[in-house]
Symmetry: C2
Subunit: 476 residues, 2 copies
């Protein structure tokens, strides 16, 4: 089209600049799990704000309060960027959400390259945050830059919500959304999020995410670590208790054994089952990048449903036990097992929390242990499902067709983006997820990457999405 | 007595020097679990050798070979000190064993004081290695120094075997003993080890130790860590498998569930049962220092038997899972569970190893997991039991009576000192364990200590033991 062609040309011609800027962003160690690195998050927020201001936007750093540290001190959370541009009442208003913080990453975790040095190999751009979520946030900014640089009118009113605490649960953002419901969000028509990935080589639109709660199961007993030779066999070891507790959570088929959990899952309709048939998903191709020999389920539909519309429970590790290399013979005095539970409609995080706690307490009672059990949980994000007939989904499908020449797959997402449900619940606006990352990007893993192809075509997709959304408004 | 009185006076008058020297030793970070610190072990071996040489001894640094690192490199193990003094054929020959290496210790593990700065508080000397085993090794040297300084003839021929790799399994020492059986060890009459603690406020002689094997249960699956949101519910998670494996090892009563283990334990004789009745062991007093509300057994005898003459299994931790503070939602690709199994007569480490592996393989087969299981084990020290009627036990009892005014408790030791069994098996000599550490010393724990009282009275005990052993030789 005469509108999109010059935009796409600009994007192709400036792709090396775009990649270079991604390198600058990846180099910022914005790991939100480490409070010592919150200054880096602020630095990247500043870089982003400057970029938006250079393009004519107004930026507010919205305060989202403080976090209580374990030592009792309070520290200010990194603020949230709320940005907007001059408003044209004849254009639809699109609010883009993204986050600048990343998961922890250390070279010695098994990265082939330095996680904070963007490295291009065989068309892939490796680095922590490349796909989650720095690449997509930059692609939105580059799509806007492209309109400005080619002197075309931006066809939508744009707003940005960019945070720095997503990977640790987006504390404070929900409250901020609530506070700004009648101001910043009042004239928003659509909220779009690009913080997930495709499930195959085909582009996708995402209409649902799982919720998540994180559980800490603490067993503490002796007042100090004990020598297993001296005391082994005579004391109730916290680790023995904890292993029994963790072992009671799920069976070898992945089935969650906490009573009440499976019963609260929304029943599968025939219409919903049909959606799964169209997803391109090659079992062998999905096994390869993650290196597993088989899945818990036998066929495509069941695997996808297990990831998207059924709950799952993963045990992540134990704090306080011996975790280094080698062979220490200690009896740890206090251990904290950690697991998360991905939730789906119609599970309620508050109810799930109670079910898990009651279950663990019942198992612990059978242990007849004099140790202390403490179960706490955090996050508790709710699952989210959207309406596929909403205008922005139609615009998204058209934009995908224009850029990639195929219809997008209509998918759900197993991982949790609390903001999708929060935005929808609080603002009542239409929310869509429009991923540009590849299915094998390895977000949260070693060797996270985004391909140059996805990063650049994704930028075009976003530029086209602005256009299709405005066209739909004028000529629905 | 006219012999012992001046010795005891000297020890009392020089106690501050002795404590100061212990401080110098504790300050050496001789943590054998960390290969980077082996140089510190060598430094302490040198300090010890100098001290022995100053007192007229001949020191050999015996080579015990190399260790293969995980990267394929070989590094030389710290050598073993073999020391001897001019020999008088009319005196019995006593060989003293000790070790200079320590368990890992970091202030942030929960130490109230810096673990490598000996700190005296309320009569206790806190520091890593204070009781295990630097304090006792120094007490032997100070006992010898006392004879020399007071110009009394040392009534026994002394030899020393002092190593630097005990805490990681005394690799190479067994082989060295075998090699020197017909030379260094040929004229040894008695081997004495002071590397354990009393079980009450009363001094003790120790006639048995448990053996130990350390097991590594590795489950590996995906080729990289996975996002639990994306993949949770569809993959066989290595942690789920590992938790099931670890959970199959023992029940909540501490009973080991590996078939064959309990059946191989030597039956309890009436005579042996009688020995337990005399042990002073106050349940409440034993609970306090370790801060437990109850033990797995209800009465003194059963608790002691559980620690000394029955096997036990302790799960120490997991390598490869998330172990930091906070909440990471990773599915670890490869996890290694670690546990140790304390062994007693008539268990055979080789048989135990097979039983454990077969058990774990059987449990894993039921998991129907596509992941890989690898079970490896190390150390495999054998349990040890001595003859209580041996002359050095009689001398030991007399020395205790002289210094402390009470009969020693005849005890066994739950923890593993592989060298006790190895010395007895290889050399065929009488082996005794003569502890000077207090029951609440916390070896291998945070806030390890030896009391000034035990350190100084222990030095007297060793001096008296030389004397009683020689008297027994002359006048049995
Ligand atoms: Zn993200
Ligand atoms: Zn993420
Ligand atoms: Zn020791
Ligand atoms: Zn030790």
């Amino acid at each position: 089209s005469t509108v999109l062609d010059p935009l796409f040309l600009y994007i192709d011609e400036h792709q090396n600049e775009f990649v270079q800027r991604l390198g600058e962003w990846v180099a910022v160690k914005s790991d939100s799990s480490d409070q010592m690195l919150w200054g880096e998050i602020q630095r990247l927020l500043n870089m982003t704000a400057n970029r938006i201001q250079e393009m004519g936007g107004q930026v507010e750093f919205a305060d989202i309060g403080t976090q209580q540290l374990s030592n009792g001190e309070s520290v200010a959370l990194p603020p949230v960027i709320l940005a907007q541009f001059e408003r044209d009442p004849n254009k639809p208003t699109l609010c883009i959400y993204g986050h600048l913080d990343v998961q922890p990453a250390k070279k010695e975790d098994g990265w082939a390259t330095d996680p904070y040095t963007l490295t291009e190999l065989n068309g892939n751009l490796y680095g922590r945050g490349a796909t989650d979520n720095k690449g997509p946030v930059l692609a939105w900014l580059h799509a806007l830059e492209t309109y400005k640089a080619t002197k075309q009118e931006v066809p939508v009113n744009l707003k940005f919500v960019i945070e720095g605490m997503e990977e640790v649960g987006s504390d404070g953002l929900d409250e901020l959304t609530r506070q700004r419901k009648e101001s910043f969000f009042s004239d928003v028509d659509y909220i779009v999020i690009s913080d997930n990935v495709w499930v195959s080589r085909r582009p996708a639109l995402t209409y649902g995410t799982r919720g998540s709660s994180y559980f800490f199961v603490e067993v503490d007993g002796p007042k100090l670590d004990l020598h297993s030779g001296v005391f082994g066999g005579s004391v109730h070891e916290p680790m023995t208790d904890l292993i029994a507790l963790l072992g009671s959570l799920l069976d070898h088929t992945g089935k969650i054994l906490v009573p009440g959990i499976n019963e609260s899952v929304a029943p599968l309709t025939e219409e919903e089952r049909e959606l799964y048939k169209d997803i391109h998903f090659d079992l062998e191709e999905m096994k390869k990048p993650i290196g597993v020999k088989s899945f818990l389920q036998d066929n495509k539909e069941e695997i996808l449903m297990a990831r998207w519309r059924y709950p799952s429970l993963s045990i992540h590790g134990i704090e306080g036990a011996f975790s280094d290399k080698g062979s220490k013979t200690v009896i740890p005095r206090r251990v904290i097992g950690k697991f998360s539970l991905r939730q789906v409609p119609n599970m309620e995080p508050v109810v799930v929390e109670r079910q898990v706690k009651e279950h663990l307490q019942a198992v612990f009672a059978k242990q007849k242990s004099p140790n202390n059990l403490k179960v706490t949980s955090s996050v508790g994000a709710k699952p989210w499902v959207a309406n596929l007939n909403d205008p922005q989904y139609i615009a998204g499908r058209k934009a995908v067709k224009v850029v990639f020449g195929v219809e997008p797959e209509l998918i759900r997402e197993g991982s949790t983006i609390p903001i999708a449900n929060n935005f929808q619940e609080v603002t009542g606006k239409s929310v869509m997820m429009l991923p540009i990352g590849g299915h094998d990007d390895g977000e949260h893993s070693q060797n996270e990457k985004i391909s140059r192809y996805n990063f650049i075509q994704g930028t075009k997709l976003f530029a086209a999405f602005f256009y299709e959304l405005s066209k739909l408004q004028k000529d629905p």
